[in-house]
Symmetry: D2
Subunit: 133 residues, 4 copies
């Protein structure tokens, strides 16, 4: 992984705590990949009709993580109200998706793993929010 | 425009107020287009060094509007905490981008117009949030 | 809609034909909205198991239209190989999604309308490619 | 990283070579992160006016990688024409961005690293295309 170095190389002093922001970036990227895959795995399950809410929340979570990872990667002249509100939305989306995936974790291993990724991303968002005061 | 009809044709009863959600969808799409164009117009301006924050907030705003329009377009089994938090983030991003663009409105017509789009999207988000209680 | 004006206001001479590019931008935005809504409408249909391929191609089409609309909106120093290849991918994605939606058009009005949006976007992409030589 | 396991757990037999597709997924995610950071690093450079094309191609590359990673992550009933065309667009976008970043590699370490990420993603796209015949 090279992208953490590019993030560290930003020419200006950091507004966000770079270690904490970088962990949030990494968790968001993993969560996008996991939720996109879980939504698609669900579409191929025989019990698809039970998985509809899971598909829907996976899609929401991937889309919101995508906006979040882009916003927190940008270090040039951020508006902290924007950063705070999108990271809050990401935390909520990860929590909602994790809760739904946990309902299916015993039946579907992809849901069990996706829930783990969502919980880690939720925590990384909470940690980043804590640094923002 | 056909897409409002597809939105109206959803097989299940609506959770969100469809008129208000549809206006928010339309404003988000216009705002994505406007912010993407304004960021790029800024990159071609002779006073680019004064426009850096504008580029940055345009990019944030387009990305957050993109997540929002997808989440509110989906009517199947939404989690209202997720909807509320992403629409709140969108309202904040539109407000921040509008404020910045308004600083440059006298110099750059694209900023003046982009600010208008952001203010309309901000209002549409506020109206949708008002229906969510 | 203000965003066409912002697009027209770009400080530098146009590389793409602005009328044709603008029509492609508008069709891509409509297609994103239509495909996102159609995928979600499908998730709420009683015959969901027959709609899985439609959901999948709707999602692909919305994602590829999203990359395309952003790339063609940017007028500052484009690489025409990039523009050409992403517009080609968009044309292919719209065609594939339209074909699938047309299979369900008699059963599902949202598929009939989504197919129309995809066909219009496919044509707008073809028209833009024709101007690129 | 858990997401490779979710990808491997898809309920149906694979259409794409899973090892090769997974490498392309991983490279696309790294490239999104790297290009988003490089574009933003450029915005903070004193020689920003020389970096405008780099910003623009970084943004295109991140957007096209984003559509690509989503399309190739989905394994349910793909249309191979769509997969092929979006991976081709990704290869082209990575190549164009790498070329531009390489021009600035001696001056800007973030460009040198971003070019590496783009070249790796370009190769992963080429490898995936080779498996598609």
């Amino acid at each position: 992984m090279i992208h953490p170095d590019i993030f560290q190389l930003h020419p200006l002093p950091a507004t966000l705590d770079r270690e904490v922001a970088l962990r949030c970036i990494t968790e968001c990227l993993d969560c996008i990949a996991g939720c996109t895959a879980c939504a698609d795995d669900c579409l191929a399950e025989p019990d698809l009709s039970d998985m509809v809410r899971c598909v829907r929340l996976d899609l929401d979570c991937a889309d919101i993580c995508n906006a979040t990872v882009r916003a927190i990667t940008r270090q040039t002249m951020p508006d902290l109200r924007v950063i705070r509100s999108v990271v809050e939305a990401c935390e909520v989306a990860c929590q909602a998706c994790a809760e739904e995936c946990e309902h299916h974790a015993a039946m579907h291993e992809h849901c069990r793993l996706c829930a783990q990724l969502c919980r880690r991303c939720e925590q990384a968002c909470a940690d980043l929010l804590a640094t923002l005061g």
